[in-house]
Amino acid sequence: MTEVLEEKTTKLVNLTIDNLEITAPEGTLIVDAAKLAGIDIPVFCYHPKMEPVGMCRMCLVDVGMPMRDRDTGETIMEKGKPKIQFGRELQTGCTVSVSEGMVVVGYTEKVKKGRQDILEFLLSSHPLDCPICDKGGECPLQNLTIGYGSGESRFDLEEKQHLAKHVPLGDLIWLDRERCIQCARCTRFQDEIVDQPVIGFQNRGRKLQIVTFSEPGFDSYWSGNTSDICPVGALTTADFRFGARPWEMQASASVCNQCSVNCNITFNTRREAKSGGDLVIKRAMPRQNEEVNEVWLCDKGRFAYTSVKKDDRLTQPLIREGETLVETTWEKALDLVAEKAKEAGKEMVSLVGGRLSNEDYFNINQLTAHLGGKSLLNSEMAGGDLVSQVGLGTGSNIADMGQGDAILIVASDLEEEAPLFWLRVKQAAERGAEVIIANARETRADRFAKYKIRIAFGQETAVILSMAGAKEGIAVEFLADDAKVKAAAKVFSEANNAVIYYGSDGLGLSGSEELSKACAFLLSETKHTGRPNNGLVAVWNKANLQGAWDMGFRPSETLAADLKNAKFAYVVGNDPASKDILEKSLKDTDFVVVQDVRLSETAEIADVVLPAQVYTEREGTYTSAERRVQRFYPAVPAPEMTKPDYKITAKIAKRLDLSLEKIAASLVFLDLAEKVADYAELDYVRLAEVTEQWPIIGRDDLFYGGTSYQNTQGLGKQISPAIETETIKYEAFVPSVLSKKDEFLAVPVTTLYDRGSTMLSSEVLQPRIADPYVILNTADAEKLGVEAGVQISVKLNGKTANVTAKLDDSLAKGIVLVPRSMGIPISDPGSITIKAK
């Protein structure tokens, strides 16, 4: 029995299942109790993450109860044992809870016959096109048919119904109507788990069919999960459809690098002729980690791998010769880089992006420190230092939060910024945790929030400080609803456990820095630090920004000047030149080295370009926003001439008389653990440890949990915030005021489906990309004569662009939301002019 289940109730009951004596918490469903005891009861509609519905009737069992004397209420004994009375009919094991003395039988002829009958019924309208079905080989229906089905069909094949087999439910999911067994797992997932019932049943009886109600179809960030849990091949994903057979593929553990949740992934790979005999990724599946992503992935994370293409990769070092970059050897390139770096000395900067591994950051920072340069982070969000001080306490798991706990979301559109965090907080709310939202606009998290504090953009810090009891510099009239703030502050402070998620909704670097300080102050004032399920989470917009902070990188308010004044810029895994202002500065930098996987805009103006490897081609670790350090493994081979970043850096370092580890990521990690105190306890072996998880999924019985993968490669380790060992004091401060000079204030916000390189390069995700747009208040738009969906002209930071106008009446007047990476560069709130066309 796993602890996970035991914790939920205290009372345990004794029962037997198939003659095995077991103990299970009262209230456990028979199917789950059996699963824990290692006995498989076949299910189709039941899924351990959702409420039972008893629809498919596959999980039939015979259930007996001890007989009681009608008058005395005492158990009737027979031969020293309680006399058992079985029900007249079989019962569905997914809808009946275990109770004391229960006897469950699943092996008798009666039960087997019952299950056979159900299968026969299911197959009577099933096409049995296993040979061409994506699910074939990992299909619960196929497996159970082999277990329970009869060899021949008594149903007249002429009378089979024929239905549409290629129905696009949306851009990412296809439905085969013939294969659907009407188990409603998909619709219940959308409704119960992600609160987005955009698909549902239509009609009735045998005409019952899955349809989508949204425009565009299946409009949800979560659609891929329905394909995993569909117990047949009715729902297939656009990337994998007819792409490979499950048994041809290998599984390789990884971690999603699309956002700071760091969901656990399994890449399925196959060597194939059409890719020139190369090993290629065919799909990404969730890998169970109940403390991170459970068994789910968001669609961006699931399909992101499709953006990596062979042909646009850098495969050879390049060196500038006049106007052009020409191919060169590693030796030549590295020698030149080392020479220029040495010349620059203290006047060098390294600038890194947010998706490198900890090992890469570590080596780059070592090299930079060796030269006396600056380790800079290309990021518009701050606070990583505070997260390392008052981040989540060791042993945190949002899944343990519920009644009596509080979760505060501030300046974050959580689903857009970190989909799985949104899901986990939603579930905590359903378990009774009080969710407080302090945002300047409506988001999908509002639906489960108990306290909604609607602030104006720019008041985020003030609100948090005021919740912490600070008075100075806090204009009460600023706070949209003072009573609400007080009530929320009380709930937060009195909560047993409390966590803050702060994001970057409407904030630039300085704004988020202030906000993070205010959050740290609130947590320390309310003593919500240094304990499990207490602390600060920065909802970073890149996968490993926390790792970058932990390894010593800092964003700079004066990045343009830093680059301009540098003699040597070592730009790794980011593309500063895609922003006009940085491009200008880089042109003044004496020598620019770009280390990347693609020829970015910065690479095009660089002096040397070094070809690195994509994270799917190598090993490494990421640190999530919850400060969980997790390993990823190589899934596919890297192009021949490329090298992992840490190795390239080590090779440069060697030429500068600095010895850095380069043989393997695991060895770099040993160095790192020695030098970075928070990581001292960790090594690759510890990170690969797994403990038993509930529900049990991904074993031979795919019917139970779907095709998600069991985690055998490591659950990672959460590192402790400094406050657990030292005393850290935080002070209140006077928040700065965001002044609005002009009619319209543009604020940056995050949208998951942006126009960043992942989305643009993925053919699968492309149809989901919106044209560049901004969002205006409806009344403002009316005044400007702008209708929803029309093109308007906007001018921001001296740049003019034509974009689509979207309208939102919940938005404050005078505010214009400008999504990041959506075609209009924006880093901080600022003035914007709008013209109707």
Partner: protein, 420 residues
């Protein structure tokens, strides 16, 4: 005081103008409701009266009404009363007559019942085809509001009561109480897993009593006249009168209110005037399309129509929609009709009913079109048996009753159809 002659429910036979509220009130109407509310009668006492009266649900299952009310969870509020006026069983047409012809007694019955279970809101769920009736009920509800019989602070007390009508959209399954609740909540009409039962978790997950129209139409008189008065009618275990909807091959089809325990013979031959053209009777379906077909021999005709006796002849009383089959009716034809009905009405939520109803229909089609063999008949019987006992709600079970009984009890009708 009202007079009760032959009828407790179809009292318009005695008082033709009873649908006029003045007439109803002149006969003592709404006095029981007024008394119950204004004297702040203890709901427990009311539940006890109804329990002691032996009143059982008239919607089909015959579950003791008072007992159901006692299951209402008093630790969870609010409570709801839902009146099942879906009346969709083929051959049932009694609820409609009660609501149309004796509406005020129906209303008073549901209002007293609502008080008894401490509900402030009543939903009347009507089948979609009853839209005209729903319109009339709405007007009557408005009138009652004006008369001070509905609304806040009734008779100067704290008690508030509201009634709402709701139309279904043409699905037999929405008569099943949990599918009804789903539909009422605006969702697809599909049954829920039971337990939990509605008195624990019902409408909007709140304690809810779902009762049939006819069941509740008795309540005001039972409360007025007492449990023992009601027990004078019917049998010991099946107390009271029942409205039997008689149809099929009889001379005088219609609704007949008779004490429970009246033999089939009396209903068919005395009240129904016997079989059309005085042909021999062949079979009886006592509970509409959901029935097993009773072989109409002397034993069957002398069987009392009550909840305990009908099973002795291999059937259920159900909603007492008695369909008479004479010797012109071929049972293979009949089950072709019933399987079509259930195929059309299966909600599709559970596998055996969804797939089985389809399969049975294609087999009865084959048999009826004389393309079938004896093997098809055997297969049909097997398919029906495989559905039985495995479905989520009783509809699936119902779909097998006529099929299994027809094949077992009227083999000749099948022999004649199949090319051996």
């Amino acid at each position: 005081m009202s007079k009760v002659d032959k009828h407790i429910l179809l009292r318009h036979h005695e008082i033709p103008d009873i649908a006029n509220i003045k007439t109803y009130q002149a006969d003592g109407g709404f006095e029981t409701f007024r008394k119950v509310v204004s004297t702040k009668m203890d709901p427990v006492e009311l539940k006890n009266i109804v329990h002691d009266s032996g009143l059982r649900g008239r919607g089909g299952a015959g579950f003791p009404t008072g007992l159901k009310w006692k299951f209402v969870d008093d630790n969870n509020w609010p409570h709801y009363l839902v009146v099942n006026a879906d009346e969709s069983e083929p051959g049932t047409f009694k609820d409609r007559e009660i609501m149309e012809k004796n509406p005020w007694q129906f209303f008073e019955g549901i209002m007293v019942s609502a008080y008894a279970i401490s509900a402030n809101d009543i939903y009347i769920y009507l089948r979609g085809e009853f839209w005209e009736l729903a319109h009339v009920l709405d007007e009557q509800i408005e009138l009652m509001k004006k008369e001070g019989l509905l609304g806040k602070n009734l008779f100067g007390t704290e008690y508030e009561l509201n009634i709402f009508t709701h139309l279904g959209a043409g699905a037999y399954i929405c008569g099943e109480e949990t599918a009804l609740l789903e539909s009422l909540e605006g969702k697809m009409g599909q049954p829920r897993v039971r337990p939990p039962f509605p008195p624990a978790v019902g409408l909007y997950a709140k304690p809810t009593v779902v009762n049939n129209v006819e069941t509740l139409a008795n309540v005001s008189l039972i409360v007025e006249k007492g449990a023992n008065w009601y027990r004078k009618f019917g049998t010991e275990k099946s107390a009271g009168t029942k409205v039997f909807s008689l149809s099929g091959r009889v001379k005088n089809p219609g609704n007949y209110e008779l004490p429970l325990g009246t033999p089939f013979r009396e209903l068919i031959y005395e009240h129904g005037g016997g079989i059309i053209d005085d042909r021999p009777i062949k079979g009886i379906m006592a509970a509409g399309a959901s029935s097993s077909i009773i072989v109409a021999d002397d034993k069957a005709l002398d069987t009392p129509m009550d909840y305990e006796s009908v099973p002795d002849v291999g059937a259920q009383l159900g909603s007492a929609s008695v369909i008479i089959l004479d010797d012109t009716v071929d049972m293979s034809w009949l089950i072709n009709k019933t399987t079509h009905f259930f195929k059309h009405e299966s909600c599709g939520k559970c596998t055996p009913c969804r797939e089985g109803a389809f399969w049975m229909t294609s087999l009865t089609e084959r048999i009826r079109s004389k393309k079938g063999t004896m093997e098809d008949v055997i297969l049909l019987e097997d398919v029906a048996k495989n559905i039985k006992g495995k479905t989520l709600c009783a509809l699936g079970e119902f779909s097998t009753e006529a099929v299994l009984s027809a094949i077992e009890r009227f083999p000749d009708d099948f022999d004649a159809q199949v090319n051996k």
